[in-house]
């Protein structure tokens, strides 16, 4: 049952992501990308990461994609005029496929060797996913968390000076 559901979602994700790269019109690509994101969110839920699923929807689908769509609209970009030359296309696809084969092969060959942690589904249900993440963020990963602030600040500044009308 679960496997079936997984395969269904996975299929949708793959199809929509293929649509992302095949669609001529950027808007369509964007929409299919959002579709993919939803699928991923679903999978996150299946992986007992509801919080991640939530911010996946909120941040990605909500914020980033909206921004992208907005820009697309702003620049009102028509669909691409003429595709890349065939051999470039072919080469690209080939490369991708090769990479896929390789990763597939090595993932197939390898098992999970990482050290097991203490968090299991029971705990998640008991404590709550969000709290666990929060705790991790504010204790162990405090510094990275702080760094993100610098990162965002820099990004904002950049965005402003690059795109504000008059200096």
């Amino acid at each position: 049952m679960e496997t079936l559901f997984f395969s269904l979602v996975a299929a949708i994700a793959i199809i929509s992501s293929i649509l992302v790269i095949t669609n001529k019109n950027p808007i369509n690509s964007a929409l299919s990308l959002i579709m993919t994101f939803f699928c991923l969110a679903t999978l996150y839920v299946m992986l007992e990461a509801p919080f991640m699923a939530a911010i996946q929807i909120i941040v990605y689908a909500g914020a980033i994609m909206v921004l992208i769509v907005f820009v697309i609209m702003l620049l009102n970009i028509r669909s691409e005029s003429g595709r890349r030359t065939n051999h470039a296309l072919f080469l690209g696809v080939m490369t991708g496929v090769l990479l896929l084969i390789q990763t597939w092969y090595l993932l197939w060959k390898s098992s999970l060797t990482g050290m097991k942690g203490s968090v299991d589904s029971a705990m998640i249900i008991k404590v709550g996913h969000t709290e666990l993440i929060g705790k991790a963020l504010f204790t162990e990963f405090l510094l990275p968390f702080e760094i993100t602030s610098v990162l965002l600040l820099a990004a904002i500044v950049g965005a402003v000076i690059l795109s504000k009308k008059k200096l």
């Binding site: 390789q102 390898s110 990482g114 050290m115 929060g134 204790t139 405090l142 760094i147 610098v150 820099a154």
Partner: protein, 484 residues
Amino acid sequence: METIVIPAINMAVIAPEVILSLFAMALLLINVFVKGESKAYLGYLGIAGIVVALFTLVSGWGFPTEGFSGTVIQDNFGIFFKVIFLISAAMSILISDKYLVREGCNQGEIYPLILFATVGMMLMASGTDLMTIFLGLEVLSVSLYILAGFNRDSIKSNEAGLKYFLLGAFSTGFLLYGMALTYGATGTTKVAKIAAHIAQTGMGSSNLMLLAGMLLMATGFAFKIAAAPFHMWTPDVYEGAPTPITAFMSVGPKAAGFAAFLRVFLIALPALKAEWTWLVWVLAVLTMTVGNITALYQQNIKRMLAYSSIAHAGYVLVGFTAGNAVGTAGIMFYMLSYAFMNIGAFAIIILVGKKGEENNNVSDYAGFGYKHPMLGIAMCIFLFSLAGIPPAAGFIGKFYLFSGAIQAGYIWLAIIGVLNSAASVYYYLRVMIFMYFKEPNEDFAWVKLTPAFIICLIIAVAGVMIPGVLPGVILELAQKAVLM
């Protein structure tokens, strides 16, 4: 619901980063109130911040301290690299003001952004957790995307920024995938713990997941340090970006990339040394050769130096291949001297350049040596140092790098290296040919030297010649800073 216990925060560990960030924010605020020419003072304020950071930094020399539950460490290795970052940042700031005014994009934000980038680099150098390193790298990258495209009105600048952004994001993908696989294989993102786990489970190259993780991370870092075949963005971006930023980019981020690269590979993945050594070997050869050979043809001096910087990444990779004390010390020494010589060269390029990135062709330097004897001599010193001819720091650096390789038994690598640097001599000489052997075709505008430039050049020359003649001290420090 239990309370969150915030672990003890050891600010000392990240004091320099904090100081810089604070200064950056302060600059952002002050920027609102200063107008026009006086924006230069922002730069000087920034330099003040850098100096302060520098002092707090060096005070930590000799006492490695961890902090923030093992996500960051302040050790000699980090400190040495951070010094390089700070110096390059300061020198780039010194040379940017004049340029910004000339190119008519004199916005104060550039200084805080440089500082942010520096913070990012410092975090890369001192991060002991893949997350820290990743975020530091992103801080750096994001700031650099902006800086590269900083001159909004110049198409070249836009193009540079955009190209850098797209490719940078692309490479980030690989880096992340690599980190993910490593995480999967070891169950942690902490550099030290990764090593420990590998050691205790005794997994090695047999573990394909770990191996793939290593390789993908390597490609990610290779992009940052512009190693072939991940180098192709470099010439375009360097050429398009505002010259001071090019100077900055060619030195700081490269060094940062190496810092992170070294830390991750030497601390976390020593078990795979046999594997990544060969990878790096190949990268080194490719990078040196491609960089040098392509540089031979260049007419635009910025672009030429871009290729040359690729080649230098190659030389440094030679030291990396060695992976021994000499090699690593060589890397540090080399990056330091490279900061001086390259930024010095770019400073002169800015001086010679005209509005709209004009006058950047090698042929524009005809007779330069006679018009400005002193600048000419300085340029010669930088170029000879880049070419690795004694008694300049560049030579000592190369000597150490190749010695490292030889000590580790990679004699062919060293031979390829020296042959490369022999080839590289040609294009450095070409500049001098124009500077001295050709008569000035049209007498170009008298270069106006601001005090900032004079200081920058003096520092650069000193930084090239003194370590060149008496490298002992710095080499000793580098030896002390080696990881292991």
